[in-house]
Subunit: 252 residues, 2 copies
DNA sequence: CCCTTCTGTGTATGATATAAACGGTTTATT
DNA sequence: AATAAACCGTTTATATCATACACAGAAGGG
């Protein structure tokens, strides 16, 4: 009887007794989760408290517990909610590369719209319906690719992590651009300059030049450039997969 | 004057006035951070409270604030602390592929030793000394690879993110193995069976067979197999980069 | 020698998640 | 139709936090 799997997962699947007795419910799970998501979108994940969510809906904090067993479960539901992409059902007219590119882009878009997704402390292999629907979509894009199931899953894992990396980068760049270069707390110089002065060539022989050139702090990059970076890594990954397919074909 | 960069970063660099006047300090930053890390290692990140850390050291919670401005900063310092890998300084005797593999493996090992690292909110691209030292190490492994600096950074970010995804997978599998297949809360069946019954072929045409086969819940996989999965994705990435290098070489 | 500065410590405060008990409401059962 | 059970949203209470503030003592500088 240890702490086991969060039953927010069960909730996300709509499992629960249909409770016929008692008064009519005045809220819905969806309503609660959507409210929580919009709060997180606006003010960050830390702003999501039971109180705030409930008050936004005109109820008391405790009322939420009639719908959700705990806040952790709410967060799981939030994650699932934003994974509800409107999946285009182009019937694999295009190749698998295009499909994977679309998958990655869609995932990155989620991070862009909901930056708090990067901060959620509840993580793990996807287990909720919308998240799994995305996996299913990606698998569909690979349906005619001669890979083992486990290999396909590995590819999806790889691409997901790539999208996440892009999300982090994007968020940092957005923040850097928003802040501009304000004088820093512990020196008169801007943040980038401060970092550059700390990353000395003795201590960081390889990193030093990168930071000094400003490439690390992304000062001169725009969002458009970030897009280019996304392209670069993605193309490398897909090339790698393609090469593997070729090699595999030769062996047979 | 918005909320700006956490100055826990400044602390991690050892920046601060050397205070000569008052009484001698009875603790040190390192002591505090190490204690916090060991608590997180043992009981998870949620167990790390100012009170608990201070009490472990025989002091009161408030005393910590003489060393650390806020708990968020403490977490940043914790992240930096566990990034203090003892970096092998093999002078690039091996190729860049081996170097990148070592980098990924080392990162994964950190996740294995400190699972709470996965739960810490990502504040963004690394900015603290030990974390940057790791980046420097990775850059060193790429020193003779003809890529642009920005491309190298993109590769490193990607591999970091991939390592994180592997860390998540590893942890989930470890938990799944530890739990075995306990009867679930909302059905008599085990968790894997429950999931399999939810992932119907109608709703998840492509994923269904994967889940049904048990490949998704990783029931029969050992940690060794997980290593294979890691290998697969990693090799694809590296293959893709290698191909890019080849193409680039031909063009010149 | 005093005064400034810093130390660790109590005390206090405001958030927070969530448990427990309550009055009112709806429906199933008798 | 009457009763009882189940359930809803609320009120109240508690425990845990992070952290602001003010204090008493310690150490060094003038």
């Amino acid at each position: 009887m240890d702490k086991q799997l969060p039953n927010g997962i069960a909730l996300s699947w709509g499992l629960g007794k249909p409770s016929s007795r008692g008064p009519k419910r005045e809220m819905s799970l969806k309503q609660i989760v959507d409210t929580a998501v919009s709060i997180a979108d606006k003010d960050g994940l830390a702003a999501v408290s039971m109180n705030r969510v409930a008050k936004s809906l005109g109820f008391t904090a405790m009322s939420l517990y009639r719908y959700i067993p705990s806040k952790d479960d709410l967060i799981i539901l939030m994650q699932d909610a934003i994974s509800d992409l409107s999946i285009p059902l182009e019937k694999a007219e295009h190749g698998w590369r295009e499909a994977m590119e679309a998958f990655v882009q869609a995932t990155i878009d989620v991070y862009k719209e909901h930056p708090w997704f990067l901060e959620t402390p509840i993580y793990g292999v996807p287990m909720t319906p919308n998240a799994l629907k995305v996996v299913d979509w990606a698998l569909g894009g690979l349906q005619h690719v001669p890979l083992e199931d486990s290999e396909k899953m590995a590819v999806i894992l790889l691409l997901s992590s790539y999208a996440r990396a892009c999300g982090i980068l994007q968020k940092d760049m957005a923040r850097a651009m928003q802040l501009g270069s304000p004088p820093d707390a512990f020196s008169g110089k801007g943040y980038a300059d401060t970092l550059a002065s700390l990353v000395t060539p003795e201590r960081f022989p390889y990193l030093h030049s990168v930071v000094a050139s400003g490439a690390y702090t992304d000062e001169n990059q725009s969002s458009e450039d970030a897009g280019d970076d996304i392209e670069f890594g993605l193309k490398r990954i897909l090339d790698g997969i393609e090469q593997y397919l070729k090699k595999k074909k030769e062996q047979t």
